[in-house]
Amino acid sequence: MIIDNNQLLRFTTAGSVDDGKSTLIGRLLFDSKSIFEDQLESVSNTSAKKGHDGVDLALFTDGLKDEREQGITIDVAYRYFTTPKRKFIIADTPGHIQYTRNMVTGASTANAAVILIDARHGVIEQTKRHSFIASLLNIPHLIVCINKMDLVDFSEEVYNGIVTQFEEFSSKLLMKDVRFIPISALLGDNVVNRSKNTNWYQDGTLLSTLETLHISSDINKIDARFPVQTVLRPQSEENRDYRGYAGRVASGIYRVGDEVAVLPSGFQSKIKSINAGEQEVQEAYAPMSISMTLEDDIDVSRGDMIVRKNNQPEMEQEFDVMLCWLANDAAKPRAKYTIVHTSHEERAIIKEVVYKMDINTFERDSENSNLSMNDIGRVKIRTTRRMMLDAYRDNRNTGSIILIDESTNETVAAGMVV
């Protein structure tokens, strides 16, 4: 298999319970020959024990004891498969409203979201919620699979009706790239193999769509942002004066000789060298992990950000974020949290809940200022010192934050800078 230049595509699946998510993933794995014999054997045994005839494809994905017993997905599970064109990482997230936080988690790093709709039911509240989250998390590509087409006689009319329904409500959401595919996860139509039952459908199967999505421009290549993770100071004799700033390029491109500024101090210098591992390179771009040295001996530490002199993020102490609440205990107004943004940490308070989103109707409720688990709302945050922020719409890596409760150390919220 020639795979040297193959890219990695991460996608998440969403759909309400029983729409066929697990079956679809099982089908993708099975038809792309990514299932091993012993896995098949174990799933066949379990299928037989449960009295299914044939192999229940859904069993390939549910992992924990409780999930297999109850036949539901509780936590995000990751699955992997490779085709001659790409490597794929699937974040299989549970669909139910009480697991919104898991869907947000799976969506946060995804290049694409696959949303399932049961052809018999069309667009339902869950579909709207999942699409809203995909758009809120700025997932670059959305693939809407109209599933169980076998149960509606592969009807073009039913399919078109659902597409229209979807387009109507989703016009309110910001989404760049939306595609629709009629499938049967159970029978395999248009998943990996083209269906003979949908001659009226001309576009690609789900797999060929995933294989060809243009993802190179999913990462912002314009605004150079380099959050410093740690400073490398070797103890050896020959490297006595070496100070390498290690981190992962969050966005943009850096070249040796670039004039840069170190934030928040604002000191300026030039890039002297860039290393990727042991190897010296002339340029580096997102998402490479590198280390760089600067011409001048200035004070740089973890949490600082090295940017281009003439392209800098906003430096703010008070700002708005769309916040998804992840914890059992509701958000406490004016309580102190640790805010984490790239490699930078400060203390923060939620000054105000501007409005809460009804994630089924997309309506804003500015009367209700109570954010509890799985709620999403716009809040004002104030931090002890300035943060170096970009809008999430422009930059997923430098526009995202989490809040940590200092009394429990739990991650309680995920936020997107507005």
Binding site: M1, N6, Q7, E37, K65, L232, G277, E278, H341, I402
Partner: protein, 301 residues
């Protein structure tokens, strides 16, 4: 297409290096759990890249069951010497001698589960707050649920249904006294990715992974190596076979496969044609549907 994108191996490498650097930045006393198998060798290789030109800032911690392949121990000692890092050994034999654990009895007895106590004791006595492992989500269904930064309570236990959400690349390693973390930098790698990368980087691995002649007996559908610990059962014959190992665990339970793959290139080809998972030959995972989940909850690797 623009040239500014990474291929999948570079992206996995970059992600792993990012996680290793986060471990270094967020914890006081992290170690790499080093078994001598390819995954922990890979993690060590990635750590070398992450901190170059500094030395790897982590000690290697080996939980020694006493039932090793001699080749593994030799490899471990050579690597530690070459890298100039500290080696911490937790000994299962000592845990048995001290009465911390009791040896399993019967014909399928292994020291696999006993490692948990030794591991947790070593973590505690060395005040380790983060143990970096080579676990991969594709290995086993319970592992598919692991986070990059995985919290362990003060009994060293994992609570899979109550894990911290992990969003974007923001890793939360905050913990209280007595608790620790496990970090899994190669979570997103598959067995195939590991082999492709080992080949690309020409990483040296124990000779056991390459096809070689060895005395073995056929048991539980795989070739178990003859060693001082192996008790022959009725009807079992010692044979001389050309085999290699896909994973390395205890010599008592790690089964080999018949193979002619004696170079990295041939191994990559062989693995890509395999129709069985690599853990399919390990009797520790065959005990029950949830064998791995049960052990992991208690604190296993």
């Amino acid at each position: 297409m623009s040239k500014y994108y990474l291929n999948y191996l570079d992206e996995l490498e970059s992600e792993a290096i990012y996680i290793l650097r986060e471990v270094w930045a967020q914890f006081e006393n992290p170690v790499i759990l080093f078994s001598g198998g390819k995954d922990s060798i890979l993690v060590t290789h990635l750590a070398k890249k992450a901190f170059y030109p500094s030395k790897i800032p982590f000690a290697l911690m080996h939980v020694d069951t006493g039932h090793n392949f001699p080749e593994t121990i030799q490899f471990r000692d050579d690597l530690v010497e070459k890298l100039g890092v500290k080696l911490i050994v937790g000994s299962v034999q000592e845990s048995i001698n001290n009465g911390r654990v009791a040896e399993e009895k019967g014909k399928n007895a292994t020291r696999n589960a006993l490692q948990i106590t030794t591991l947790l004791d070593a973590i505690e006595s060395n005040k380790v707050d983060c143990a970096i492992g080579g676990g991969r989500r594709d290995e086993e269904k319970a592992r598919a649920k692991e986070r990059f930064f995985s919290h362990r309570d003060d009994f060293g236990q994992w609570d899979p249904k109550n894990q911290r959400p992990e969003l974007w690349n923001l890793l939360n390693g905050k913990h209280f006294e007595g608790e620790h973390f496990r970090a899994f930098p190669i979570s997103n790698w598959t067995e195939m990715d590991v082999w492709n990368y080992i080949k690309r980087e020409n990483i040296s691995i124990p000779s056991l992974y390459f096809a070689h002649e060895r005395e073995v007996v056929f048991r539980n559908n795989s070739w178990i190596p003859v060693s001082e610990y192996l008790k022959l059962e009725e009807g079992e014959n010692v044979e001389n076979k050309k085999i290699r190992f896909r994973t390395l665990g205890d010599i008592t339970i790690t089964g080999g496969i018949e193979s002619d793959a004696d170079t990295l290139g041939k191994i990559v080809q062989e693995v890509s044609a395999m129709r069985k998972t690599e853990r399919g030959d390990r009797s520790d995972d065959k005990r029950s549907e949830t064998a791995m989940e049960d052990r992991k909850k208690q604190g296993y690797f």
